[in-house]
């Protein structure tokens, strides 16, 4: 009962904020609505008793990704000038890509057997379980991802450093 109300509440929050994010004329507002949307997702995780995931969601997605986006927007304030157009000119590719994505999601939604999925809901906190799984069963993907991220990090640093060297 409570879960149902919370679920629909969070779902509405996600949908509305996602919509607002797209139609907001100001890109900064879009980023804020994105944060709200992600917050709603974290709420859904909480409803599913997956506190750890919810915490990570807030910490990483809102605390890092959205903040990064806001940071970039702040640093390039010129995109907010009145005369700069907020709308994308590449209408056709946008329609194709979003259409494909929508198709993918909708088909996934329709094909999933929701009845059995709900039974799988974790009964309680799974922090320890997540940790154990990451370092036992999924240690290889985990390490690969970390190496990938490290490479990205070094790449980013080298790009920035190279820029500076060129200036000098």
């Amino acid at each position: 009962m409570v879960e149902t109300i919370l679920f629909y509440g969070f779902a509405a929050l996600i949908l509305i904020s996602a919509l607002l994010m797209i139609i907001a004329p100001n890109i900064y507002h879009s980023a804020l609505f994105l944060a709200l949307c992600l917050f709603g997702v974290a709420g859904i995780y909480v409803v599913l008793n997956s506190y750890f995931l919810a915490g990570i969601q807030v910490l990483v997605y809102i605390g890092a990704v959205v903040v990064l986006a806001l940071f970039v927007i702040n640093l390039t304030r010129r995109i907010l000038d009145v005369d700069s157009d907020q709308h994308n000119e590449q209408l056709l590719p946008a329609v194709i890509i979003s259409g494909l994505t929508a198709f993918l999601i909708i088909s996934a939604v329709l094909k999933t057997n929701w009845g059995t999925m709900i039974a799988h809901r974790v009964a309680q906190d799974n922090t320890a379980l997540t940790g154990r799984l990451l370092l036992n069963e999924f240690v290889l993907p985990f390490e690969i991802v970390s190496v990938l991220l490290l490479a990205a990090l070094i790449g980013a640093i080298s790009i920035v450093a190279g820029d500076k060297g060129a200036q000098k």
């Binding site: 100001n26 900064y28 804020l32 807030v58 809102i62 605390g63 890092a64």
Partner: protein, 356 residues
């Protein structure tokens, strides 16, 4: 029902009578046949109101305390006009602040300008949920306690950035950006030090962390984690943008940083959030390293407050002594000094846990 026993329980084992009361109320409620969650929502509302009142009163007290403490270090007397010992000075200031005109700068971005103080305040308000004030006196003892704290307190960055963005002022913008960079880079050493404690306690849950330290002061984590405590205080102090890390609002450089354009009520909210964050950081340090509410003789709440205010005093002492660090040194300090030490600390802790 033994009244004396109840009183004793209320002070020393607060969780028990409270849960008894909740069970009793729940039973009573269930007899009416209404859905149970309405009662839960009601209770949560009550808790929220209690926390809000506590935040307000605590902020008023802590501002007064800071002013008095600063005066002590600066060989002057501090507020002593309004009320006995100037105790009502902050109250008077608050009233003045609330009565002031609320100015919205021209060409400010109204949505973000208005949202910013509320986001910042909400972030510090939310963290109170998992602070264990006493034995069982914790609003929501969630399993991921520490993670929750880190996640929610990180939300304040959005508020700070929004304040910098929405004000449409260059000083605010620089302040906001500085602050965001600062909070993000100091979160890493902070998380690492917290991780060491979490490893020692074997749980993210606040009550477990407190329980793992036991009532014996020799087993509190500040002994094995003395480096961690220092790192936590430094990183925590930087997280809450207080001197010597008060670059976002560096008065002599950026006027007031991201709060330059704020006035009246919204300014008061920033102020409230700042001092609440000070209290929170100290409370976390007390919980993680000084055994939380545990201690002999005195009631847990008193112990908790004593420890918290001890940390608060140390942070204030540092603030009123040191000059402000420069923005690039700040980053270098975090990445070149704090991070290696924190990693080393974590490594040694992990090693010792496995060996011993």
């Amino acid at each position: 029902m033994d009244f004396k026993k109840l009183l004793w329980d209320l002070f020393y084992d607060t969780g028990k009578p409270l849960s008894q009361f909740y069970a009793w109320a729940h039973n009573l409620w269930m007899q009416t046949g209404l859905p149970g969650f309405i009662l839960d929502v009601f209770f949560q509302l009550v808790i929220a109101v209690v926390i809000a009142v506590f935040i307000a009163l605590n902020a008023i007290w802590i501002i007064y305390y800071e002013r008095k403490f600063a005066a002590l270090l600066q060989i002057r007397k501090g507020p002593n006009r309004v009320g006995p010992f100037g105790l009502f000075q902050t109250v008077a200031d608050t009233v003045k602040m609330l009565l002031k005109e609320d100015i919205n700068p021209d060409k400010s971005d109204i949505l973000t300008f208005w949202a910013a103080p509320f986001i910042i305040f909400a972030a510090s308000f939310g963290v109170f949920l998992v602070i264990p004030f006493g034995n069982g006196l914790i609003a929501g003892d969630v399993n991921i306690g520490m993670l929750y704290v880190l996640a929610i307190s990180g939300l304040a960055v959005i508020g700070i950035l929004s304040a910098g963005f929405g004000s449409n002022s260059k000083y605010s913008l620089i302040g906001g950006l500085r602050s965001a960079a600062q909070v993000i880079s100091y979160e890493i050493p902070m998380v690492l030090t917290v991780l060491a404690v979490v490893m020692l306690a074997g749980s993210l849950k606040m009550s477990d962390i407190v329980a793992a330290q036991t009532g014996n002061p020799l087993k509190w984590y500040f002994i094995p984690q003395i480096v961690g405590l220092v790192l936590f205080l430094i990183a925590g102090n930087a997280e809450i943008n207080r001197g010597p890390f008060d670059l976002p609002e560096a008065e002599s450089e950026l006027v007031s940083g991201f709060i330059t354009e704020y006035s009246g009520m919204k300014f008061a909210m920033f102020f409230l959030a700042e001092y609440t964050n000070l209290f929170l950081t100290s409370a976390l340090a007390a919980t993680l390293f000084l055994g939380g509410w545990q201690g002999p003789f005195l009631p847990p709440v008193v112990w908790f407050m004593l420890k918290t205010y001890f940390i608060v005093t140390i942070l204030m002492w540092a603030r009123w002594t040191f000059p402000r660090i420069r923005v690039d040194h700040l980053m270098a300090f975090s990445w070149k000094i704090l991070l290696p030490i924190a990693l080393l600390n974590l490594l040694i802790t992990a090693f010792l846990i496995k060996v011993i």
